[in-house]
């Protein structure tokens, strides 16, 4: 048997004692011990039966969760290693409680071909302390004109296709991409932005853009593409996942479509519920992201969308940029902030503690079973035999965000100094502790 053989080689096992084991994929939520042997979740008897050293972890007062999945990060390699590397990004993921990250294809070269995907996979295997799953581009060079070799990308093992950071504007091209992705069973992720409506917008179009004279990014610029995606998901009968949803209108459209059974979903980033567009008033470029932070009415709609299941996935859109790139005029600065090391804390603090919108079990589900189901990946569960990716979470721990202590190679976070309640305290990948507080 595989298990016995590998135990013989590794000779190690772990028991995580007395934690609150929450495994949404198995509808499990109980105080229990969790057993790991051979890098896999296992039965109590198999750990007892072997004679080698057993590591014991006291998890009293902690949540024992399946390793968290962040399905929207930018690791910047190849091409932009001054912002982040696969190695540093993976360390940041581990420090945030993530055992699996799904990285976006807007690298240089663009991940629109099998050899770049292979390079990312090889690099991750060599240096990353967490699982790194690459995505491939929808269109060649993210230009929105010609289809990338989606079938070849699927064979190379991409988790999904997306033009994230860009958005295919031509509905016909997008339709064919979705139809083709359906054939090779790849989910399609879309960054929803109508280029004509948004133009050179840098902040939410509303009171603050009017006051400050900054080019506005209207909510309709996102909603037009969410609507497009709903129509194409119906037309092609294939799943389209809308990335970083930020507006009330998008929530309403997705809610209505999901009620009708349309294969559409949406994700939320912490900054879109932690901040409002008032944050931009001092022109701090760490509050510049795409889509932009929105007014309170949109924040409240996102919270409702999370509460009623319309928005089913949590993620960071971790977007590292070097200080010198961000420390420029507001409209010249690149969009995006880092998030891997703050997102869990922000979501626990805001969703579970402050707003009470969802319980911790649902929050974990939105970080594990939900993305695993969408991407059809073997992760996000504590089932017997599953790879032992485990995150230990202290939901009551008070801590302060310190960007100078981040594992990420970048520092572009607007949350420096924030006091949060709840965070990961240990991250285990394949049975091995890769990070602990």
């Amino acid at each position: 048997m595989r298990k016995a053989r590998v135990i013989g080689i590794l000779g190690s096992a772990t028991i995580i004692r007395n934690g609150r084991v929450i495994d949404p994929a198995n509808k499990r939520d109980e105080i229990a011990d969790l057993f790991i042997a051979d890098g896999r979740i296992t039965e109590k008897s198999e750990v007892r039966s072997q004679k080698s050293e057993i590591e014991e972890i006291d998890a009293k007062g902690l949540i024992v969760a399946p390793g968290l999945i962040d399905m929207h990060v930018h690791l910047r390699e190849p091409g932009f290693s001054h912002k982040e590397t696969i190695e540093s990004g993976a360390r940041a993921a581990a420090a945030g409680g993530f055992t699996t990250v799904v990285c976006m294809p807007n690298t240089s070269p663009v991940a629109d071909n099998p050899s770049t995907i292979a390079w990312i996979r090889d690099r991750a295997a060599a240096v990353a302390c967490v699982n790194v799953l690459p995505t491939g581009a929808i269109s060649k060079n993210l230009a929105g004109e010609e289809l990338a070799p989606i079938g070849s990308l699927a064979q190379t093992g991409v988790a999904a296709i997306t033009d994230d950071g860009h958005c295919v504007q031509n509905h016909e091209v997008m339709r064919r991409a979705v139809e083709y992705a359906c054939m090779v069973d790849l989910p399609v992720l879309d960054h929803c932005q109508d280029y004509n409506l948004v133009a050179n917008g840098v902040v939410h179009e509303g009171y603050w853009s009017t006051l400050l004279g900054l080019p506005g990014w209207p909510a309709a610029g996102e909603e037009a593409m969410v609507m497009r995606n709903i129509l194409l998901a119906e037309l092609c009968d294939h799943h389209i996942h809308c990335q970083h949803i930020s507006t009330a209108g998008s929530v309403r459209l997705i809610r209505e479509a999901r009620t009708r059974g349309v294969k559409i979903s949406g994700e939320v980033c912490p900054h879109h519920i932690a901040l409002t567009d008032a944050a931009i008033q001092n022109f701090d470029t760490n509050f510049k992201m795409n889509p932009p932070v929105r007014p309170l009415a949109d924040v409240n709609a996102l919270l409702e969308g999370i509460a009623d299941g319309t928005l089913s996935i949590l993620c960071s859109d971790h977007a590292p940029h070097a200080n010198f790139e961000k420390e420029v005029e507001f409209d010249a600065a690149p969009f995006g902030i880092i998030g891997l090391e703050t997102e869990l804390g922000l979501f626990i603090d805001l969703l579970a503690h402050k707003h009470g919108k969802i319980g911790i079990a649902r929050l974990i589900e939105m970080y594990t079973a939900e993305p695993a189901r969408l991407l059809k990946i073997d992760a996000g569960t504590l089932s017997i035999g599953a790879r032992a990716d485990v995150t230990l979470i202290d939901p009551e721990l008070d801590w302060t965000v310190r960007v100078d202590q981040f594992q990420s190679a970048s520092r572009n976070s607007p949350f420096d100094g924030w006091k949060l309640k709840g965070r990961a305290v240990r991250t285990i990948v394949g049975g091995k502790t890769v990070w602990k507080l």
Partner: protein, 318 residues
């Protein structure tokens, strides 16, 4: 002159090293600048048009976006205060070689510049520099955000002609959305108690402006008879990338201050324009030169206002 500098012991009327916008100023601070400008206006009609207030200080006119009128006005104001002046434009700066704004400005500061007058196409660029430099930063126009000295000279001109600002009906007409002059005027006029109405095509005067405390109207003929002051903004049709209105002909028909429309104005209504004017577009040529026009007064007053601003901020910077 017997003027007290704002930073003098016992005075709290001016404590800022920078002038970034009017939104952050109190009514008292605005009035203090206007009073200070009043004292400086007299310098311009002297035989020797110079005072030693900023002697030994260095002012850098850093204009990343082209400007003749504002740059010249700041330059002359600095000369009259006896400051040393250097002009740097976008084409002569290292910005064209890829240097960042921050690095360029720090290099200017390393040359011991005391005052940096910045014109920049990006909203917030003066805030960006002010928080990073010891030198005074004076905003000479940032994107569509603020142009505080223009609004101060507008306020000065209104007060000079009408004796007050509180209670006046002021209409600002034209491209509001992309206008830094409009925003600074809105902030300043409201702080000093005027009533402000914005007029122009709905695409350039979105209703969102009402939340700033002003009225928005798309019917100029209803606004003109009630106005005590109208401020016409330049229509920059040639620079707008997107279609905000069908064309200049239609603009004149709907919003231009034609001779016919000018008859709707009260006899004592002031006609203002920050320049440069498009004769025959936002304002009829004869109307621009008419008795109600104070356009050239604005230019003259701009000098006094900029002297006041340089004097006040320059005094804090040391």
């Amino acid at each position: 002159m017997t003027m007290r500098r704002g930073s003098a012991p016992g005075s709290t009327r001016w404590t800022r090293k920078d002038l970034l916008g009017l939104r952050e100023l109190s009514a008292d601070e605005i009035n203090f600048v206007l009073e200070t400008a009043n004292a400086f206006k007299e310098v311009g009609i002297r035989q020797i048009k110079k005072v030693p207030a900023l002697r030994g200080k260095t002012l850098m006119n850093f204009f990343v976006e082209p400007s003749t009128r504002t740059r010249t006005s700041f330059e002359l104001a600095a000369f009259r205060l006896s400051a040393d002046v250097i002009n740097i434009s976008a084409t002569t700066s290292s910005l064209t070689k890829g240097e960042t704004l921050k690095d360029t400005a720090r290099n200017l500061e390393a040359l011991h510049a005391d005052i940096l007058v910045l014109r920049h196409g990006s909203a917030g660029a003066p805030q960006f520099l002010a928080s990073r430099l010891k030198a005074s930063v004076i905003n000479a126009g940032d994107g569509a955000h603020e142009h505080p000295t223009q609004a101060l000279l507008d306020l000065y001109t209104i007060r000079e002609r009408r004796g007050k600002i509180a209670g006046l009906n002021v209409a600002i007409i034209g491209d509001i959305l992309f206008s830094r002059v409009a925003r600074s005027n809105i902030f300043g006029l409201l702080k000093l108690g005027a009533r402000v109405t914005l007029v122009g095509p709905s695409t350039l005067v979105p209703r969102e402006f009402e939340k700033l405390g002003v009225e928005v109207s798309y019917k100029i003929d209803e606004v003109l008879p009630k106005a005590d002051v109208i401020n016409l903004l330049r229509i920059q049709h040639e620079r707008q990338r997107r279609e905000y209105f069908p064309g200049l002909g239609e603009y004149v028909r709907l919003f231009g201050l034609t001779k016919e429309r000018a008859k709707l104005l009260k006899p004592d209504c002031l006609i203002m324009h920050p320049g440069p004017i498009n004769r025959g577009v936002e304002i009829d040529s004869d109307v621009a030169d008419g008795l109600q026009s104070v356009i050239l007064d604005q230019v003259t007053n701009g000098l006094a206002v900029r002297m006041a601003v340089l004097y006040l901020c320059g005094g804090i910077a040391t």
